[in-house]
């Protein structure tokens, strides 16, 4: 197995204690850092996402893989120049005010980061204005708004309305999600993207960066990813 495939397996299996050494071996072998990132880690996380969507793995394994990649990226970062592709886009993400739930948000952050984005985590119980301020950063292309409870959906509506009034509105997309959020609600409140799970969020973020002018997204208004298939047995 090549060193880079070995790294891929390490990330896929979430072997956190081995990832640093695996990245270092790749660097010693003079594998270009950008390949280490794209093939060794981002591709691995794509596989992890597919396994999650096919119910082969669940949240714990996905989380572990994402954390493993994150640890690997920390080692790799100094070797990647800013234009080498580490950052394909910039996202800000938070859980709306009145809502303290963070696991869904954190998973989305990890899966979006795993596609190469830089993600600014605004945390939980985030006031509307903090979302708006964070979205004023000229590099931000995606704003993620999370809420778990039906009782905090009004806060999501308020947050999205404020983001829609932002002078930079044309320059970023608004992605919403959370257990009680539906496609209809997302459309109703004027969000651009609704995803049902963290893997789908990562996939959409990736597509969004690939499609520079966002045309296909603007036409559809709300992008739906149906997420993992339900299983019965």
């Amino acid at each position: 197995m090549s060193k880079i495939n070995f790294l891929q397996k390490i990330v896929e299996n979430g072997e956190m204690d081995q990832v640093v050494a695996a990245v270092q071996v790749c660097l010693t072998e003079k594998i270009p850092p950008i390949d280490i990132l794209n093939i060794g880690m981002i591709e691995a996380m794509t596989l992890v996402g597919q396994k999650f969507q096919h119910n082969e793995i669940f949240v714990p394994e996905m989380l572990l893989a994402a954390k493993t990649m994150k640890k690997g990226v920390e080692i790799l970062k100094p070797y990647l120049c800013s234009k080498s592709g580490l950052t394909t886009g910039k996202m800000v993400m938070g859980t709306v005010h009145g809502d303290l739930h963070d696991i869904g948000k954190n998973l989305v952050i990890m899966m979006v980061e795993a596609t190469g984005y830089e993600v600014i985590d605004l945390g939980i119980d985030v006031p509307v204005q903090r979302f708006v301020d964070a979205a004023s950063d000229p590099a931000v292309t995606l704003v993620g708004v999370s809420a778990l409870l039906t009782t905090t959906l009004p806060a999501m509506q308020e947050t999205v309305a404020a983001l829609n009034a932002s002078p930079r509105r044309e320059a970023f997309k608004i992605m919403v999600g959370g257990a009680s959020v539906t496609r209809e609600f997302a459309r109703e409140i004027g969000a651009d993207i609704y995803t049902t799970d963290a893997v789908s969020a990562g996939l959409v973020a990736k597509e969004l960066e690939a499609d520079g002018d966002f045309d296909s997204f603007q036409n559809n208004n709300v992008i739906i990813k149906t997420g993992k298939e339900r299983i019965l047995k």
């Binding site: 669940f58 714990p60 572990l64 039906t150 009782t151 009680s180 997420g227 339900r230 299983i231 019965l232």
Partner: protein, 355 residues
């Protein structure tokens, strides 16, 4: 029409899927909504017991003297975070009780951690009082929330717990074993106090599926949960399991280990048309849409939802007609009244309605 059974007889019959004079009903409220509803009925803001005269409920919980019990009884100290006997801190300002302080976040503290004593004096004072007061008319149940995985999660933090689970860490197994012992001890103590039903709770599901692989659940959780359930079953008591989300893959396992009642049966996570296959094998407690219909629907929508739930799971098959999760404060009083009317019309219940 006069009832032929007491509430207690009716619910116990429904739990055992035996004939009942009518389908039993239950309405639980989130802590914040409890205040709204108590105000609406002109009752003191002291939790669900104050609402019993107005509700046609069948189940009363015997709360532990801890952060949850205080939250349910609306004994608020003014602090945002309240601690329980495990040293876990819970934010009580939301609809529920959210763990925010995790005493074992640092795994090196696990080996020296002192587990709480289920026989500590005073722990069941409130539960004992509730049992004495309501045991003849209602089914009084234990209230073992944060039973297994949620307890680990509260001790370690959710992400740490998920990683522990993926790695099947030795200390996770040890924690689960000790928590199981505690919960078995608690079950015994509850039974000595005179509960007529056990109630354990852990969220194994997410909106779109299981939190963990069903086989991981079977390996790590099922045997321990079975041990707690058996503590009650050995004394002939029925057991309610609460779990949010979609847990369809493990329902046959739950039936196998002797769970009598499944709560909370959220239709958005577990569609009725799929769950009806378990009709007659497990009693459903819940089933009415709280994510969509109850907060957003019209009176007609709510009636249709109650009717659909009633027709799907009851009568006679084992149904405690209730909502998919406790009614939260986003439900307008008008919709609550529509729900009560529907309960009265569809299930012949006697909820008092104040317009």
């Amino acid at each position: 029409m006069k009832d032929e059974m007491t509430r207690k007889e009716r619910l116990l019959a429904a739990m055992r899927r035996q004939p009942q004079d009518r389908v039993p009903t239950q309405l639980d409220f989130s802590p914040r909504m409890l205040d709204v509803v108590c105000r609406h009925y002109g009752a003191p803001l002291k939790g669900e017991e104050e609402l019993l005269p107005f509700m046609d409920n069948h189940l009363v919980y015997g709360f532990i003297n801890d952060a949850f019990g205080m939250q349910r009884k609306r004994m608020l100290s003014g602090n945002r975070v309240q601690y329980d006997n495990w040293g876990c801190g819970f934010d009580i300002t939301q609809e529920g009780t959210t763990p925010v302080v995790h005493p074992l976040e640092d795994e090196s503290k696990i080996s020296s951690y002192e587990f709480p004593d289920p026989n500590a004096p005073g722990l069941l004072d409130w539960a004992e009082a509730a049992i004495q007061k309501y045991k003849d008319d209602y089914v009084v149940a234990s209230y073992q929330v944060f039973c297994l995985i949620e307890r680990v999660s509260a001790l370690r933090g959710f992400e740490n717990f998920l990683c522990d689970l993926a790695l099947e860490e030795d200390y996770l197994i040890e924690l689960l074993d000790k928590i199981t012992d505690y919960q078995c001890g608690m079950a015994k103590r509850y039974m000595r106090a005179g509960v007529s039903c056990g109630r354990v709770g852990d969220d194994y599901g997410t909106q779109n599926g299981m939190l963990m692989h069903p086989n991981v659940w079977r390996k790590l959780i099922k045997p321990r949960l079975a041990k707690i359930v058996a503590t009650y079953k050995n004394e002939g008591l029925p057991v309610i399991l609460h779990s949010c989300g979609d847990i369809r893959p493990i329902i046959p396992d739950l039936i196998e280990i002797g769970i009598d009642v499944l709560n909370n049966v959220q239709p958005e996570a577990m569609p009725r048309e799929d769950l009806v296959q378990y009709r007659g094998k497990i009693t459903f407690y819940g089933g009415i849409s709280t994510q969509q219909v109850l907060p957003k629907g019209t009176e007609e929508d709510i009636y249709n939802e109650v009717k659909a739930c009633y027709d799907a799971y009851g009568p006679g098959n084992g149904l405690l007609l209730s909502t998919g999760i406790s009614v939260m404060s986003d439900v307008p009083l008008q919709n609550l009244n529509a729900l009560l009317r529907a309960f009265n019309e569809v299930a012949g219940a006697n909820y008092q309605i104040i317009e």
